[in-house]
C-alpha cells in the first residue's frame, strides 16, 4: 500500500539554489537562497526577480491561505513562522484560484511534504504560479527591521546591492494605489460551495434558515472562504466585478450587498467608495477589511497607513457591545481613523493592542463592517457570528 502522506511530492528545482537577497528601500539587505519561480536570464546577469511591499505575517499555520489571499497582491510576504511548506499545497485551502503575492520570504522552506491532502510541494506551486521566493532568510531580523522602520518597498534578486536597493526605492509605494483591478473577477458569477465539512455547526445554521437571502458580493479581491461562509449561512451568492455600478448591482435584486476585502490603499479606490455611497440605505451592507474601509470612507471617515500593519491570526479584538474578546485573523496595512468617524457611525469593535478601529455599524443604513477577517482561513473561528448578523439583517431581523 502506498501511503499518500509518505510520498515525497517535491520535484527537482528548475535551477540550482541561488544565493540572493531581499533588499529594502532603506538600503537594508537580508541574504538567503532564491527559489520558486525565477527568471533564469536575470539570475545569470543579476537583477530583480520581483518587487513588492515587504510585510510580515505572524500566523503559524495557513501559509497556503496567505499565498492565495488576494489582499497580499503586490506584497513580498515574510512568514515569521520558521518551518513553512511542511504540509505542501492542496486543493482545499485556496483563497483564490491563483497566488497574488509578489514574493515569499521564509526561514526554512520544507524539504519534505507530509500531508494526506497535499497534491504538490510549496516549491512546485510557487514555480507554477510564477512567484519568486527566498529561503534561509533571518526572518526575525527582517521582521524586527520592518517593525522598527515600517513596511516598505523591497525587491528579491541577485547581483549588485545598490542596483537592487535603487529598484526598491523606485517602486511605487502602497499609498495611493488602487490594486483592486488586478485581483477582481472579470465576470459576474454565482458561488454555491460551502466549507465542506471543515466548519463546526454548519448543518445547524442551515437548518435555521428559512428563505435564501440573495447576496451580491462586490469582489475587490475576495477570499473565497467569505463566499463559502455566506453559503454556509444559507445565502445565494452572486459575485460581481469591483467596477460594477450600483445600478447594475441593484438590478440583481439583492437582499444585501457584501463589500469584500482586497489589496492596496482604500482611499485610492474612489469608484468603489462611490458605489458604496450609492448603495447606502438601499439594502443591508456588510464589509470586511477593504470593504470595511470603503464603507467608512463612504460614510465620510478617513483612512491612513499603519506603520507595519496587522497581519496574523492571533489579533485580539473586543466586541464593544458584549465585551467579549475575539481572537481574529487580520491582514491590513491601512486603518480607519477613529476620530474621523462621523456621528451616526458606532465603533463596534476595537483592537485590544493599539485601540484601532476594528469594526463599525451604521444602523441608519443597516450597514456594518469589520476590519478583520471573520471568515478566518487562516485563523480562529471566533467571529463567525457576523455572517449570521448579516443574514438576520437581510431577512428582516434588525442589526444589533
Amino acid at each position: 500500500m502506498t501511503n499518500s502522506s509518505v510520498s515525497n511530492l517535491d520535484q527537482p528545482p528548475a535551477h540550482p539554489p541561488t544565493p540572493g537577497w531581499i533588499a529594502l528601500a532603506d538600503g537594508t539587505r537580508f541574504p538567503g537562497t532564491l527559489f520558486g519561480a525565477l527568471n533564469p536570464s536575470i539570475l545569470e546577469a543579476g537583477g530583480v526577480q520581483s518587487v513588492g511591499e515587504a510585510v510580515f505575517t505572524t500566523g503559524m499555520t495557513g501559509y497556503q491561505e496567505v499565498l492565495t489571499d488576494p489582499s497580499y497582491c503586490d506584497q513580498i510576504v515574510t512568514m515569521t513562522a520558521p518551518q513553512i511548506g511542511n504540509t505542501g499545497i492542496n486543493g482545499v485551502d485556496n483563497e483564490a484560484s491563483r497566488s497574488h503575492v509578489s514574493g515569499f520570504v521564509l526561514t526554512e522552506p520544507s524539504p519534505r511534504v507530509s500531508h494526506w491532502q497535499s497534491d504538490q510541494s510549496l516549491h512546485s506551486y510557487l514555480v507554477n504560479q510564477g512567484v519568486a521566493a527566498i529561503g534561509g532568510v533571518d526572518t526575525r531580523a527582517l521582521t524586527l527591521h520592518i517593525r522598527t522602520h515600517g513596511a516598505q518597498m523591497a525587491v528579491l534578486g541577485t547581483g549588485d546591492f545598490d542596483t537592487l536597493v535603487d529598484h526598491a526605492r523606485g517602486a511605487p509605494s502602497m499609498e495611493g494605489r488602487d490594486l483592486t483591478g488586478k485581483v477582481t473577477c472579470k465576470e459576474v458569477h454565482a458561488w454555491a460551495e460551502g466549507t465542506q465539512g471543515w466548519w463546526d455547526g454548519v448543518d445547524a445554521i442551515k437548518g435555521l434558515q428559512g428563505a435564501q437571502p440573495h447576496v451580491v458580493v462586490i469582489d475587490f479581491g475576495i477570499k473565497q472562504n467569505i463566499l463559502r461562509r455566506l453559503v454556509d449561512h444559507g445565502c445565494r451568492v452572486t459575485v460581481v466585478p469591483s467596477t460594477t455600478s450600483s445600478a447594475d448591482i441593484l438590478a440583481h435584486r439583492p437582499d444585501g450587498v457584501f463589500l469584500s476585502n482586497g489589496p492596496g490603499d482604500p482611499a485610492a479606490v474612489s469608484q468603489g467608495v462611490k458605489t458604496v455611497q450609492e448603495l447606502l440605505g438601499k439594502q443591508p451592507l456588510f464589509g470586511i477589511c477593504l470593504g470595511h474601509q470603503l464603507l467608512c470612507l463612504a460614510l465620510g471617515a478617513q483612512t491612513s497607513k499603519l506603520k507595519f500593519g496587522h497581519r496574523g491570526i492571533n489579533q485580539p479584538v473586543r466586541d464593544e457591545a458584549t465585551g467579549r474578546i475575539e481572537v481574529t485573523s487580520q491582514n491590513h496595512g491601512f486603518v480607519v481613523d477613529v476620530p474621523s468617524l462621523p456621528s451616526g457611525v458606532q465603533m463596534t469593535h476595537v483592537h485590544l493592542n493599539d485601540g484601532t478601529c476594528e469594526g463599525i455599524a451604521h444602523p441608519e443604513s443597516q450597514a456594518f463592517s469589520v476590519q478583520y477577517h471573520p471568515e478566518s482561513s487562516a485563523g480562529p473561528h471566533d467571529s463567525g457570528y457576523l455572517f449570521q448578523r448579516f443574514v438576520d439583517a437581510m431577512t428582516g431581523q434588525s442589526v444589533k
Binding site: 485551502d93 500531508h115 494526506w116 491532502q117 526575525r140 496574523g312 474578546i325 485590544l352
Partner: protein, 1115 residues
C-alpha cells in the same frame, strides 16, 4: 470583571513530592500563583509537603504549611485557617483530588469555602472517563471507541463495535502488562484470554487502536466571560501509544494545515466550555489520523499541567500566573502581557521551534520494562529553542546531558541483532522477569566521550545505494541487510533510545518510508532526523553564516510583532542578521553586550535521579540574592519545569544547554563578573575547571578546591593533614587489583566507580559470591570514562550516617545543620530519611563533627556551601564524602531552620562576609524535622524495592513537629506511607538485625499490634519473650507471607535482608507488599523509628503548624 473583593484569604494546594508524572512544574505554577495572589493583596495560605520547593519558602505566603497532603491534614488546616477560598488547579492531580475529597466530606460547604479555578462538577466531568466520553460525544466529537469485557462473548461483542486493530488493556495491571495490540481475529481469542488472566478482576478494556495516529496537545485558557485562547499547540514526535511525558514533543505543531488545526481549536473550545473550566488553564489531547485528518479526543486536564509549564516556557506566556488572576475574577482583557505590555487576551505566536525531550533512568531500575507505553516512565525533561526544528532538536539532545551532541551513532555500543532478538522474545510472554532488563538499553555510560559518527571511516558510508547488504558491519558483526532488518524490527517498539536507533537505521541504509512504516513517526520529522543523522542537514542558511556565529534572540510571545521589555533569550547559529555595507548593519543579536557585570547562575539541567528540584531551588535563591544586592543576574538553564526558567526570576534568562560551549557563548555576550557553579548540582560543577581555565571568574569556592575534594589522592592527603579518618580502602584499575584490595580489607566492602552520581553501580558486598559480579559492574560503569578506576572501601557496618551542610566565607564557617540519617550506612544518602537536629548523637560527637567540618571547609578554601557526609561507628567519626557545593538537603535545612542557606551562600560568593550578613551561628531548632524520600517503584513493575547504595528516589517530603516520632509519622504520611493504627505486623529480618528488632517488636506489641514473623525472626523474638506467630516464607509451603499479604492480613512489613541470594528470595515479598499498598521498612533503623511513631500516634492525632509559627518559636 475586576478582582474580587469578597475574598480575603485563599488557600493554595501544592502537589507534594516530586514523582514521575508530577515534578517541579507544580512548584513553578504554585510559586507563580502565590506571587500573583499576594500581588493582588490576598492573604495566601499554602500547603505542600515538599520542602525543596520555592513555593514553600515562607516569604511566598502568609501561612506556609509543610504538612502531609492527606485529606485529614488538609481538613485540619482548613478548619484552622478558615480561608474564603481554595485554589486547587495549580497543584496537579494531587491538589485536584484533595479538593474533591474536601467537597465530598462536606468541609467546604460547612466552612463556607469556595473552590476557585474549577468547580467540583467540572473536575468530575473532565476526570471521570465515562462522563467525559459522554460529554465529548454530546458535542458531536468522539473518543476512541472502547468497551469493557469480562467474557469471551463480551469481548466478541466489543470487537464488533471497535474493529481491528484493537488494543487490549487488562484492568488493574501495573504498567499495562498483559495488554497489547491485536491485528486479526486469528490472534484475538488467545490474546484476550491471556489478558483476562493477567487482570486481577478478570476484566479487559477492548479499545479502538489509534496507535500510530499523530498526537497533539492544546494548552488553552478561558475566563469567566467566555474568552478563550490557545496558548500553545504541541505535537508529539512519537505517535499515539507513548505517554506525552515520555515523547519528544515539538511546538508549534508542524504537520497540520490551518483547517485541521482550527478544527482542534474549535473542539477544545467546545470541550472546555462544556466541561465548565471558567477561570484558568486546561489541556486537551487529540489523536489525528494521518491518512484522512479524522481526530479523536484522548483526554483533558482541567488544570495547569506539566504541558502548561512547557507551553509557558515555550511561548513566554505565564499560564499559571494568568490562571491565578482569572480565578480571582479578572477577565483576560483586563490583564497585560508581561513581555510586551499588550493585551493578555491573545494567542502567542512564535518564530522559532521548541523541542522537549524526556530523560529516563532505566539504568537505576534493573528489571523494569523499558518499553514506553501510556504510563509515564521518564524522570525529567529538557527543552530547547532553535530557529529550526533541526537546530532545536540537536540542542535538546545536548541539553539532556546523556553524553550526546545530537543524534550520535550507537553502532559501536548497542548490539542491535541481540536487542532485536530480545524484543522478539519479549513480545511473546509478558512476565515480570523481562530479558530486556539484561541489556543496556540506555547505552550511555557516564563520561563516554563522542562516539563513532557517520564520518568515522570504520562506519559504513551514508549513501544507502553504495552499501551492499552483504557487507559486514565492523561493529555489529552481521551483514548490513540483517542489521537493517534488526533495527527495523527494534524501532517498532517505543523505547527510550528509539530515535537514536532509527538514526542508526538511516546510517546503515534504512529508508524514510520503511522507518515510517515501523514507527508511524511522521515522515516530516523522519526527513529531518535522517538529515541530522547523515549530517546532510545543510539548510540554505549555512553558506551565509559560515562562521556559525552564535546569536541570541528573544522569546517574546509575538514573533517580533511587538518589542519585548523582558530578557528571555535563546541562541541560534542558523543565520544572522543582515549582510552588506555599513548601511546594512552586522548580524543582529538581541542580547546586546552588557556592561552591567552581572552574576551568571548555571542551573541544573533536566531533572534526574540524584539531581532534581533541590538544585533549582538553590539557583533561584542565588537570583534572589542578586536582586537583594542590586546585582544584575543571568540564569542559564534548560529545564522547562522549573522556577529558575521563569523569565522574571532573574534579570536575564538564557534557555540553553549547559555544555561548556553553550555557556561560553553566553559568557562572551554577558561578560559576567563571575559565574556561580556550585548551586546547580553536578551539571555546572563539572564545568568549573574548564570555565576557570578559559579565564571565566568562578564565584565562590575555586575550581581547584572542587578537584581537591573529588580526587581521591588529593583528598586523602587533605584528611591526613587534618588528622581526620576515612573508611580504609583503595583504588583499583583491574579486577585482580580489586580482589586484592578486598582481601586486604575483609568483608563487607563497598565497590563503586570512581566517578559516581547518585550511587550509580555502587554495591555493598558481603561475600565472595557476589564480589566478581559487582566489581565487573563497576568497571562496566566506568568504561569509556576518563578514569577507568573503581574504589573498594571497607563498609562500616551499622554505622550512623550524618549529613552536614555549612556555609563558609573563607574565614568563618557556620554550620547550617547536622542531620542524622535514620537508615544505617549503606543506603544512599539521597534515599535515606534524615532527622534534624541529630537525635541520638552525643554532644561530644556532634562537636567533633562540627570541628571536622570547619577544618575541612577552611582548608579547602570554601567560599559558599559545603556538604560533608560522615559515618559514625561507635565513637569513631569517619569522613565519607565532601562536596564543596550545594547539596540535596539545602532546601530542607532552610525550611527546618528558617534560614535560607542558599541565599546566604550566594551572597557570600558575591563577596559578603557571614559576619556582615548577620549569619554567624548554627541554628538548632527546638522542633524536629524529618526528611523522607519518595520512590517510583509503582511505575516499574518487577523492580526490587530494597534500598541500597544506588539512589532511586525521585523526591522528598518533610515532616515537622515537636518531637522525633511525630515528625517521622508526618514524614511517612506525606510520603504516602500511612502507618497503621492497629493490626498485624510482619517481621522478617537478617541475623544482624535480630537484636535490634526485638525492641521494635516490643514497642509494636505495647502499641497493641499483633506480630507474625518468619521462622528465624520468630525464634529470636520468642527468646526475648515476645509473642509472635510463625509464617511460612514463600519457599516454605503455603499459606506463606505473600498469601497473607494478598488476603489483607498484614498491615505493615519489616523486612531486612542481605546477600544476593536472600535478597532474590525475598523480592516477591517486597513486590507484593508494594502492590498491596502496605507500609514497609527495609532497614531496622527505619523500623525502630516507625515503631516509635506508632506508639506516639496513640497519644493523639496529627497537629498542624505553619512554618511561620515554627519560626516564631525556633531555637
Amino acid at each position: 470583571m475586576p478582582r474580587r473583593t469578597d475574598l480575603k484569604s485563599i488557600l493554595l494546594l501544592g502537589s507534594g513530592p516530586i514523582v514521575i508524572g508530577q515534578a517541579c512544574e507544580f512548584d513553578y505554577s504554585g510559586t507563580q500563583g502565590a506571587k500573583a495572589l499576594r500581588q493582588e493583596g490576598y492573604r495566601v495560605i499554602l500547603v505542600n509537603s515538599n520542602p525543596a520547593t520555592i513555593m514553600t519558602d515562607p516569604e511566598f505566603a502568609d501561612r506556609t504549611y509543610v504538612e502531609p497532603l492527606t485529606p485529614e491534614v488538609v481538613e485540619q488546616i482548613l478548619r484552622r485557617e478558615k480561608p474564603d477560598a481554595v485554589l486547587p488547579t495549580l497543584g496537579g492531580q494531587t491538589a485536584l483530588n484533595l479538593a474533591l475529597e474536601m467537597e465530598s466530606r462536606g468541609v467546604l460547604a460547612e466552612l463556607g469555602i469556595e473552590l476557585l479555578g474549577a468547580r467540583v462538577d467540572t473536575i468530575h466531568k473532565a476526570e471521570d472517563r465515562e462522563l467525559f466520553k459522554a460529554l465529548v460525544e454530546k458535542l458531536g466529537l468522539r473518543c476512541p471507541r472502547a468497551r469493557t469485557a469480562r467474557t469471551l462473548e463480551e469481548a466478541h461483542e466489543a470487537l464488533k463495535e471497535v474493529g481491528f486493530p484493537v488494543i487490549l488493556r487488562p484492568s488493574f495491571t501495573m504498567g499495562g502488562s498483559g495488554g497489547g495490540v491485536v491485528y486479526n481475529r486469528e490472534d484475538f481469542d488467545s490474546a484476550i484470554l491471556w489478558a483476562f488472566q493477567q487482570s486481577p478482576t478478570h476484566e479487559c478494556l477492548v479499545e479502538e487502536s489509534v496507535l500510530g495516529w499523530k498526537e497533539y496537545e492544546l494548552e488553552v485558557i478561558r475566563d469567566s466571560a467566555d474568552n478563550f485562547s490557545v496558548i500553545c499547540t504541541i505535537e508529539n514526535i512519537d505517535p499515539m501509544g507513548v505517554h506525552t511525558g515520555d515523547s519528544v514533543t515539538v511546538a508549534p505543531a508542524m504537520t497540520l494545515t490551518d483547517k485541521e488545526y482550527q478544527r482542534l481549536r474549535d473542539a477544545s473550545r467546545r470541550i472546555i466550555t462544556e466541561v465548565g473550566v471558567e477561570t484558568g488553564g486546561a489541556n486537551i489531547q487529540f489523536g489525528v489520523n494521518p491518512d484522512n485528518g479524522d481526530f479523536v479526543v484522548i483526554e483533558m486536564n482541567p488544570r495547569v499541567s506539566r504541558s502548561s509549564a512547557l507551553a509557558s516556557k515555550a511561548t513566554g506566556y505565564p499560564i499559571a500566573k494568568i490562571a491565578a488572576k482569572l480565578a480571582v475574577g479578572y477577565t483576560l482583557d483586563e490583564l497585560r502581557n508581561d513581555m510586551t505590555g499588550t493585551s493578555a487576551a491573545f494567542e502567542p505566536t512564535i518564530d522559532y521551534v521548541v523541542v522537549k525531550a524526556p530523560r529516563f533512568a532505566f539504568e537505576k531500575f534493573p528489571g523494569a520494562d523499558p518499553r514506553l507505553t501510556t504510563q509515564m516512565k521518564s524522570v525529567g525533561e529538557a527543552m530547547s529553542i532553535g530557529r529550526t526544528f533541526s537546530e532545536a532538536f540537536q540542542k535538546a539532545m545536548r541539553s539532556l546531558e546523556i553524553g550526546r551532541d545530537g543524534l550520535d551513532s550507537l553502532l559501536d555500543r548497542v548490539d542491535y541483532p541481540r536487542l532485536a532478538q530480545q524484543l522478539r522474545l519479549k513480545s511473546v510472554g509478558t512476565d515480570e522477569s523481562s530479558p530486556l532488563s539484561e541489556i543496556p538499553l540506555l547505552a550511555t555510560r557516564p563520561g563516554t566521550p563522542g562516539s563513532v559518527s557517520a564520518a568515522d571511516p570504520r562506519a559504513p558510508g551514508i549513501h544507502a545505494k553504495e552499501i551492499s547488504p552483504d557487507q559486514v558491519h565492523p561493529h555489529q558483526g552481521v551483514p548490513l541487510g540483517e542489521l537493517r532488518r534488526a533495527i527495523a524490527d527494534i524501532i517498532q517498539t517505543p523505547l527510550a533510545e528509539r530515535l537514536f536507533y532509527l538514526a542508526d537505521g538511516f546510517r546503515v541504509g534504512l529508508g524514510i518510508e520503511e522507518v515510517h512504516d515501523r514507527t508511524k513517526i511522521d515522515p516530516w520529522f523522519l526527513h529531518h532526523l535522517r538529515s541530522i543523522a547523515l549530517k546532510t542537514n545543510r539548510g540554505p542558511t549555512a553558506e551565509h553564516n559560515p562562521q556559525g556565529e552564535t546569536l541570541f534572540y528573544k522569546v517574546d510571545t509575538c514573533a517580533g510583532e511587538f518589542e519585548a521589555k523582558t530578557n528571555y533569550f535563546y541562541s541560534t547559529r542558523s543565520r544572522g542578521g543582515t549582510l552588506g555595507g555599513p548601511a546594512a548593519g552586522n548580524p543582529v543579536s538581541e542580547a546586546t553586550v552588557a556592561d552591567d557585570k552581572p552574576v551568571m547562575i548555571l542551573g541544573g539541567g533536566p531533572n534526574r535521579i540524584g539531581q532534581g528540584i533541590e538544585f533549582d531551588y538553590c539557583c533561584v535563591h542565588a537570583a534572589f540574592a542578586c536582586r537583594e544586592l542590586n546585582i544584575p543576574s543571568v540564569m542559564v538553564n534548560c529545564n522547562p519545569e522549573t522556577v529558575s526558567t521563569d523569565f522574571d526570576t532573574s534579570d536575564r534568562l538564557y534557555f540553553e544547554p549547559l555544555t561548556f560551549e553553550d555557556v561560553m557563548n553566553i559568557v562572551a555576550v554577558e561578560q559576567p563578573r563571575g559565574v556561580i557553579v556550585q548551586l546547580g548540582g553536578q551539571t555546572p560543577l563539572k564545568l568549573a575547571v574548564q570555565l576557570a581555565e578559559a579565564g571565566v571568574p568562578i564565584l565562590g569556592t575555586p575550581a581547584d578546591a572542587i578537584d581537591r575534594a573529588e580526587d581521591r589522592e588529593r583528598f586523602d592527603a587533605l584528611l591526613e593533614k587534618l588528622k581526620l579518618k576515612r573508611p580504609p580502602g583503595n583504588t583499583a584499575t583491574s579486577v585482580e587489583q580489586a580482589l586484592q584490595v578486598t582481601k586486604d580489607l575483609g568483608f563487607p566492602v563497598v565497590v563503586r566507580p570512581s566517578y559516581v552520581l547518585g550511587g550509580r553501580a555502587m554495591e555493598i558486598v558481603h561475600s565472595g559470591d557476589d564480589l566478581m559480579r559487582f566489581i565487573q559492574a563497576a568497571f562496566d560503569a566506568v568504561r569509556g570514562a576518563a578514569s577507568q578506576t573503581i574504589l573498594v572501601d571497607r563498609f562500616l557496618q551499622d554505622a550512623i550516617e550524618v549529613d552536614v551542610d555549612c556555609v563558609c566565607d573563607g574565614k568563618q564557617v557556620v554550620i547550617g545543620a547536622i542531620m542524622q540519617h535514620i537508615e544505617e550506612a549503606g543506603v544512599h544518602s539521597g534515599d535515606s530519611s534524615l532527622v534534624l537536629p541529630a537525635h541520638t548523637l552525643s554532644e561530644s560527637l556532634l562537636d567533633e563533627i562540627r570541628e571536622s567540618t570547619r577544618a575541612m571547609a577552611l582548608e579547602l578554601g570554601v567560599v559558599g556551601l559545603m556538604n560533608v557526609q560522615y559515618a559514625v561507628q561507635g565513637d569513631d567519626v569517619y569522613v565519607i564524602e565532601v562536596n564543596p557545593r550545594a547539596s540535596r538537603t539545602v532546601p530542607f535545612v532552610a525550611k527546618a531552620t528558617g534560614f535560607p542557606l542558599a541565599r546566604i551562600a550566594a551572597k557570600v560568593m558575591m563577596g559578603h562576609s557571614l559576619e556582615s550578613l548577620g549569619y554567624t551561628k548554627e541554628i538548632i531548632p527546638t522542633h524536629v524535622a524529618v526528611k523522607e524520600s519518595v520512590f517510583p517503584f509503582h511505575k516499574f513493575a518487577g523492580v526490587d524495592t530494597l534500598l541500597g547504595p544506588e539512589m532511586r528516589s525521585t523526591g522528598e517530603v518533610m515532616g515537622i513537629d515537636q518531637n522525633f516520632p511525630r515528625a517521622f509519622m508526618k514524614a511517612q504520611l506525606a510520603a504516602s506511607t500511612a502507618l497503621p493504627e492497629k493490626g498485624t505486623v510482619l517481621l522478617s529480618v537478617r541475623d544482624g538485625d535480630k537484636p535490634s528488632i526485638c525492641k521494635v517488636a516490643q514497642r509494636l506489641q505495647e502499641a497493641g499490634f499483633s506480630l507474625v514473623a518468619t521462622r528465624g525472626t520468630a525464634d529470636a523474638l520468642r527468646q526475648a519473650s515476645i509473642e509472635v506467630d510463625v509464617v511460612n516464607r514463600v519457599n516454605e509451603g503455603r499459606p506463606h507471607i505473600v498469601d497473607m499479604l494478598r488476603n489483607d492480613e498484614i498491615h505493615m512489613v519489616i523486612n531486612t535482608t542481605e546477600g544476593a541470594r536472600a535478597i532474590e528470595d525475598s523480592k516477591s515479598l517486597r513486590r507484593q507488599t508494594l502492590l498491596s499498598g502496605v507500609p514497609y521498612f527495609t532497614t531496622a533503623a527505619a523500623a525502630e523509628a516507625a515503631a516509635q511513631a506508632m506508639q506516639e500516634a496513640q497519644k493523639g492525632p496529627i497537629q498542624v503548624r505553619s512554618l511561620q509559627e515554627f519560626a516564631a518559636t525556633a531555637g
